[in-house]
């Protein structure tokens, strides 16, 4: 039963991600990417990590998807036509290389981390413990993430706030 659920979730996750890459309509790709994020949240639920699952949906399906869709809508020249032309061979090569690099890094990390296969009961992590971990031993990482996000936000504001000559005449 548990394994069947896992296989279904894994199939949904991989199939939606693969279809997202294969489709030429970029909006469909973005929405399928959201489906794969939902499948990821399902996987966390299956693994018993409620908090991570809800955070995944809230942040990825709720916020990051908006950013992705917004970026797509704002960068398209012609409204309505969202199909992409097939890319050149060089682009494909670059994509394969980048994908392979990420896969290699992930495989290295997974293979080198000790996995306990013993049948111990799954540890139940409460939200409080998670918070204490983040604020205590992992505080440095949290601060670094916060600093990176702040830099990104300030950068976005600087780019967006470039005054244009034509704006001044209209807004006052």
């Amino acid at each position: 039963m548990m394994n069947l659920a896992f296989i279904l979730i894994a199939f949904l996750l991989l199939a939606s991600a693969a279809t997202a890459m294969a489709l030429r309509n970029i909006i469909h790709s973005a929405l399928l990417l959201v489906v794969s994020w939902f499948a990821m949240a399902l996987f966390y639920l299956w693994a018993g990590a409620e908090f991570a699952a809800f955070a995944q949906v809230l942040i990825y399906a709720g916020a990051i998807s908006m950013v992705v869709l917004f970026a797509v809508l704002l960068t398209q020249r012609t409204l309505g036509d969202f199909t992409l032309a097939p890319e050149s061979r060089r682009r494909a090569l670059a994509a394969v290389l980048a994908g392979a690099a990420v896969a290699a890094a992930m495989a290295y990390a997974v293979l080198n981390s000790p996995l306990v296969v013993a049948s111990t009961p799954a540890p139940t992590v409460t939200v409080r413990e998670l918070g204490e971990q983040l604020m205590g031993p992992q505080a440095a990482a949290l601060l670094v993430v916060g600093a990176i996000l702040t830099v990104a936000l300030v950068g976005a504001v600087v780019i967006a706030a470039q005054p244009k000559k034509s704006d001044k005449e209209h807004t006052r």
Binding site: A41, G62, M66, L69, G80, V127, E169
Partner: protein
């Protein structure tokens, strides 16, 4: 706790449920109990939706000095059902250029996600459909997913107005989600839990049996509640934040290409979202199902929850009748330059407030005064900053 907490009326809904599931074999009873919970939520909020539309039309009518619907049934009480039949029998038109699949999926996804949010709200002392450890987070995860459906509707219609509305909706929803989440963080901080039932239980204390310890009666709770209500208005696309629909400028935005029952589904989802957000507001700030005074506990808890929920919903209708729609830039400025800094200040005040829990009586006065001073000062400073430079608008016309 008094005898009232375990009275017959408190248990009545559960007894009824167990009586019904008693007709089924014991192996099925768990599933049947869950199904009864789902069906009763659907029935109660479906009827609430029906009569809320009627109440809205009636109240809007009265405020605008006209009677509102009064021809169908006594006092127009059958109007929602007449509307339902009308919507069901209308032709379902799908534009030829539309993205057929997404056009169909959008209203379905919207209603499904907004129904999911009802699962974690404690409706009464013993009426919690799903008691999750991270229930508040679940609520926002489910309600954040509805934004996608609005986008899907706008984009799949293949209509410029709808697409513009979808972009407006994205910008608005993502902007107001921030103050919405920040306004509830102090509550989580004070209760020390993300579980709605624990948060309600923590508010079930009275001073002298008369003054409830609801979070809205603390400085940070009051500010948080107001920020929460404003953001909830924006998240449920209600006036004065109804820019994604904006009948007069975008011909109803993402709803333009929808007709018949799909159109009705959008409205249903909007009201469901509004009910769910207000239900969460009641749970987090107004003490959930707790009675306002200790001696009023003989009234069952779910009645109190319903009364508070209806009060907030009527407030939303009143606001719709009163305030004009904001402009897009005003909307964005209000969210990012006013609500977000204010809710951050509120978070700091709540943290300071938690520091002073053990202070003695005279220091409690300092605690209250300090918290109110910080909040009022931030409010005043932000308001001043916000309105400066946006004085009387000078309109420029093309030289003739």
């Amino acid at each position: 706790m008094t005898w009232a907490t375990d009275s017959y009326l408190e248990w009545a809904p559960l007894l009824l449920r167990d009586w019904i599931s008693g007709f089924f074999p014991s192996a099925l009873r768990g599933v049947i109990n869950d199904l009864i919970g789902i069906v009763s939520i659907l029935a109660v909020f479906g009827l609430l939706f029906a009569f809320l539309t009627l109440a809205e039309r009636k109240i809007l009518g009265r405020i605008q000095n006209r009677p509102g619907p009064n021809r169908t049934g006594p006092f127009g009480l059958l109007q929602p059902f007449a509307d339902g039949i009308k919507m069901l029998t209308k032709e379902d038109i799908v534009p030829r250029a539309a993205d057929q699949l997404l056009h169909f999926l959008a209203p379905v996804a919207l209603v499904a996600f907004s129904l999911l949010t009802f699962a974690v709200i404690p409706y009464g002392r013993h009426l919690v459909p799903v008691d999750l450890d991270a229930g508040v987070l679940y609520f926002f995860a489910a309600s954040a997913s509805t934004e996608l459906a609005v986008f899907m509707a706008g984009w799949a219609s293949h209509n410029k107005y709808s697409l513009l509305a979808a972009m407006r909706a994205l910008a608005q929803l993502i902007s107001y989600e921030l103050p919405l989440l920040l306004s509830i963080v102090p509550v989580v901080l004070a209760a020390g839990s993300l579980s709605p039932s624990v948060i309600v239980a923590k508010q079930g204390v009275w001073t002298l049996g008369l003054l409830p310890h609801w979070y809205v009666f603390t400085p940070w709770g009051f500010a948080g509640f107001v920020i929460f209500l404003i953001s909830a208005l924006a998240e449920s696309n209600r006036s004065p934040f109804d820019l994604p629909e904006a009948e007069s400028e975008l011909v109803a935005g993402h709803l333009t290409e929808y007709s018949g029952f799909k159109y009705a589904l959008f409205f249903m989802a909007e009201y469901f979202g509004m009910c769910a957000l207000n239900g969460l507001g009641v749970t987090l700030f107004l003490g959930g199902w707790q009675a306002p005074c200790a001696f009023l506990e003989f009234i069952p808890s779910y009645v109190w929850f319903g009364a508070k929920l209806l009060g907030l919903l009527l407030g939303f209708i009143w606001i719709r009748a009163t305030l004009p729609r904001l402009r897009m830039d005003q909307l964005m400025r209000f969210a990012w330059k006013f609500l977000v800094p204010l809710s951050l200040a509120n978070l700091a005040v709540a943290a300071l407030w938690q520091l002073g829990t053990g202070w003695s009586e005279p220091l409690q006065l300092v605690r209250w005064a300090g918290a109110i001073a910080i909040l009022a000062g931030t409010f005043w400073a932000l308001g001043r900053k916000l309105s400066s430079g946006f004085g009387p608008r000078v309109y420029q016309y093309a030289p003739s």
